[in-house]
Amino acid sequence: MIRMSEPILEIVNLRKYFPIMGGVLLRQVSAIHAVDGVSFDIKHGETLGLVGESGCGKTTLSRVVLRLIEPTSGTVRYMGRDLFELSEKEMRKLRLEMAMIFQDPYASLNPRMTLADIVGEPLTIHGLARGEERKKRIIEVVKKVGLAPFHMYRYPHEFSGGEKQRIGIARTLTSNPKLLVADEPVSSLDVSVRAQILNLLKDLQEEFRFTYLYISHDLSTVKHMCDRVAVMYVGKVVELAPVKDLYINPLHPYTEALISAIPVPGRRAGENRIILKGAVPTPIDPPPGCRFNPRCPYSEPICAKEDPKFIEVRKGHFVACHLRK
């Protein structure tokens, strides 16, 4: 029995390290701490945004959460079931309920498969429908994303960028998923096409009550689409809060800087805009203490020694910072 009060996805202390080999004997010399101890829940029916700049680990996290990459340590529970304990067969069956929308619509479609084949593939793999019934289901899904069934047997290159992304979305709908991970679904698309896809995602969620994990580096889009937002920095989640709270009252210094860095159309940045110094660090063998410490305007001695814990400082608002307790 599904209890809607329980989260649909629970991530507990998830880590993913990529070893770096070196030396003559090719031993592991260091590691990329792509995801370094991440814990949070995703509630049924919500859209949780995951934001961060390059190297923060959001892409890796999205892959581990769907078990497309094996974790180094930690747990992910989907509807109470530990994903990493499942057998391959059980995991494959579960994939009907968890789907991914990819960033690059060109690359995510097999150029040699027709639209119908691509959208119908989940049905084929899991033996869900055949013949006429299969065709009907494909047509149904194709229409849901706003494409004409007339073009069902065309190849990806015959469609525009926005249409290709619709095909990618249609593919996820075919199996009636519950959780959708959208990895930067509109960043490869033209500006005027983005609105169509974003609206489509919202419409579909309204109709089917999906849960979205929405990954992006574009904070304006995330604010528009999400209910809650998690901010990642060098492998860790530094803040998690309902969207309004995050944007109006960011607690973590990095979040503050991130939000103030967004250029707003029609406005020049104010005098109090925060400009961070230095570059975004790579997650290779991070130093002890808070990851953000070297760039933080409020740095204190403790910040270089101890890693701050990720705690709930207000209702629903989590931060990992020594100064905000």
Binding site: E53, D190, S192, H217, H224, A261, I262, V264, A269, L276
Partner: protein
């Protein structure tokens, strides 16, 4: 009134491909005054990058500038020979591109590439060149210039590489800097750094900037005036208030409502129906008419001309220009 530094009149750049003639830039008029920043905004394929390349006369086969004039500092660049253009490029007009990593030669040190620009255009004694390079690297905020000068591009981060590009572009004190999507590939916090840098440098160097991009927020940060391009034409041109608070062209209005914004709350974004037309056979009349809510008969037949409709506010739209006004073309 400040005089113009750059004035592009009726520029036409077409690409002669096997499939047909792509009218990438079709009768574009823009003007940049001294020490002014003009933002050229539009979606991919609208022709904004082609305008930049045309001004630099860097358009390659199968593209050709087939008409118009480009007045820079009182001279028509389209009448100049390649030798003269080479003296202008890098010295009077510089350009920086979207991806700094691909614009920097990976087998030479960053310092030597900047030195090359200085050597080509300025009479600086050999022993003083290194000093100049270090000086300009410092100005763009690269820490420890004497050391970083000797590094290779791959040893620079994205933000630093873009700073190095800016340094190279400004090394000879150009009058006009063309920046084509300079921050598109950068992380948000790095983008903020680069935009701040460009603002400071603008004050220090007194150059005019032609800033090209598709992100209205980024363009707003630096620009004094904004020109909106669509399908090879300029459809609207005004200052920040004009564009963002009183947009007149239906495309500009729709564009502003179709992007998610930090300052505006909407449930569903506005959609611009249809697609950007192919520039091989552009539609007759106004190129936006098939997607416009306010299309009238004249829109399908006659092309609207860019006309002044307010204080420093130009639009190319039949809604705002009657026949008598359209003869009032920009001089």
């Amino acid at each position: 009134m400040t005089e113009s530094l750059l004035r592009v009149n009726d520029l036409k750049t077409y690409f002669f491909t096997a499939e047909g003639v792509v009218k990438a830039v079709d009768n574009v008029n823009i003007e940049i005054k001294k020490e002014e920043v003009l933002g050229l905004v539009g979606e991919s394929g609208c022709g904004k990058s082609t305008v930049a390349l045309s001004v630099m006369r860097l358009v390659r086969d199968p593209g050709k500038i087939v008409g118009g004039e480009i007045w820079f500092n009182g001279e028509d660049l389209l009448k100049k020979g390649e030798g003269e253009m080479r003296k202008i490029r890098g010295a009077e007009i510089s350009i920086i591109f979207q991806n700094p990593m691909s614009s920097l030669n990976p087998v030479f040190t960053v310092g030597s590439q900047i030195a090359e620009a200085i050597k080509l255009h300025q009479n600086v004694e050999k022993d003083k060149i290194k000093g100049k390079v270090a000086e300009i690297l410092g100005k763009v905020g690269i820490p420890d210039p004497p050391k970083r000068m000797e590094d290779y591009p791959h040893e620079y981060s994205g933000g630093m590489a873009q700073r190095a590009m800016i340094a190279m572009a400004l090394s000879c004190n150009p009058k006009l800097l063309i920046a084509d999507e300079p921050t598109t590939n950068l992380d948000v916090t790095i983008q903020a750094q680069i935009l701040e840098l460009m603002k400071d440098l603008r004050k220090d160097f007194g150059a005019s900037i032609l800033l090209i991009g598709h992100d209205l927020g980024v363009i707003s940060e630096l620009s004094d005036k904004i020109a909106v391009m669509y399908a090879g034409k300029v459809v609207e041109c005004s200052d920040l208030t004009g564009i963002f608070q009183k947009p007149m062209h239906p495309y500009t209005q729709a564009l502003l409502e179709s992007i998610p914004r930090l300052d505006v709350e909407t449930d569903r974004l506005r959609i611009i129906p249809g697609r950007v037309p192919r520039l091989i056979n552009p539609p007759s009349g106004c190129r936006f008419h098939s997607r416009c809510e306010h299309t009238m008969k004249v829109c399908t037949e006659k092309e609207p001309l860019l006309t002044e409709v307010g204080q420093d506010h130009m639009v190319a739209c039949h809604l705002h220009t009657s026949d008598s006004k359209s003869s009032n073309r920009r001089r």
